[in-house]
Amino acid sequence: MDIASVIVAERLQKRFGEFIAVDGVSFTVEEGEVFGFLGPNGAGKTTAMKMIQCVSPKNAGRLLVFDMEVDTHPREIKKLMGVVPQENNLDPDFTVYENLLEYSRYFDISRQDAEKIIDELLDFVQLKEKKDTMTEILSGGMKRRLVLARALINHPQMLILDEPTVGLDPQARHLMWDKLKNLKSQGVTIVLTTHYLEEAAYLCDRLVIMDHGRILVEGKPDELIRKYIGTDIVEAENEPVVIACLEKNDARYEVVGDMVQIYTNDPQKTTDHLLKECTLRKITVRSATLEDVFLKLTGRKLRE
């Protein structure tokens, strides 16, 4: 192995009673990359993150973080890691500043060092003016940024973020993305879960798409799009003549409600062809996105 793997998971499994939440997944995360877990609600993303964080014991398989077993070296692993949990769990008994100061103590950071680090972090997440505010009255975006600052207090080598931007407005989301890009450029390995496909496509070097506790695919965002969809999608109305024509031409397509989506790598040719051969009334062409891959692989059924 030339690049050090920060996480190695082999046939990792987690059960809750009879229910298998994470079903034998294998993946590796390399140093310095941004690695994403995508999946609909209930896919098992949070459960997987909690095993990596050493707070939820695995039931089977192997899981090494920083080359250490999660079962035997939780303290050593947690020391090198920062965590942004799905649910904000800031301490409502303390102010913004105090939250960070309390947290620094859990990592054995001296008061003197902590004060310096906290000043830097408050600058980084743009919360300097809110220093003495109780956390309850911060906005959603500010809370999320404070949780990020808290996760950075020990200068972690790896950051785990469970749905870092869920519920944030576009401005707050973009600010969070900026911060994460910045951290990546500083060499921090980032593992994140999300169900915003745009976020995954923008941030992740590599990602896996999970559903029902299993990993469906793994790869680079644009490679996955290329592989499962093509560069573009041509959308036409779902009518029997259109379907018949597509069948005749051996096209790769999928019916989505009253639309047909035709996958292609050459939109020009496909549209010309379709317009000539089939009687199409209305067609649109757009670039394929990760969302198309996601929906194709996980289906369109609603999840809770």
Partner: protein
Amino acid sequence: MSYFQIPRLSYRVWKVWLRNKDVFVKTLTLNFLPPFLEPLLYLFALGFGLGMFVENIEGVSYARYIAPALVAVTIMYASFFECTYGSYVRMYYQKTFDAIIATPLSIEDVIAGELLWGATRSCINACIMLPVIAAFGLIELPHSLLIIPFSFLGGLVFASIAMCFTAIIPNINSLTYPTTLFITPMFLFSGTFFPLSALPEPIQYFALALLPLTHVVNIVRALTFADLNQFLIFDLAWLVVASLIFFVLSINLMKKRLVV
């Protein structure tokens, strides 16, 4: 997982204690009020009010008789409520424990820190209350000063028992059960406001065998009366054993609840 597995604790237990101390200090005035005011209210109502009708009890005035009981009850209340309602809110509503175990602290460290903090609350409240009672000349000094270290042990027993309940209740309202079925009877029937000997013999034995407050009252009363006897060794041993058992049990029960 066994209920009596010895927890593997680290020096980091102290950090959890510090966190709770910091919150306590932030609301200091509020925290000082109950242990300061409550003995005054009880002393006036029971000691000097009801006491008018009680000639004396075991050869001392009624106010003198109940003064140590007030201290013992404070020791019980402080840690019991800290480690039931207080800990439950931190665990369930504030997710404070979740936040802490994402750091090098383990869940065992967190619970042990909570228990030691609960015991400290008992100690603090005893320290606030003692001068108030002493001002009325109701306790013997310097013997009574030993109550201060003792209140930590007494507090640890109630903190640990409280944490067992916190670990098994389904929701915060269920804390009403241990409070009314365990704490209130103990408040009344542990030799607090009248001697245990006034009760039927089986109940006396029950109180001695199963109600921790009985032993706390015995020891505190012996200290405020400056009247030590050899039976106190039994009381002390009971409390030490109970604190060890429930300390370990509560940590394991909490692990069962929180490590999923």
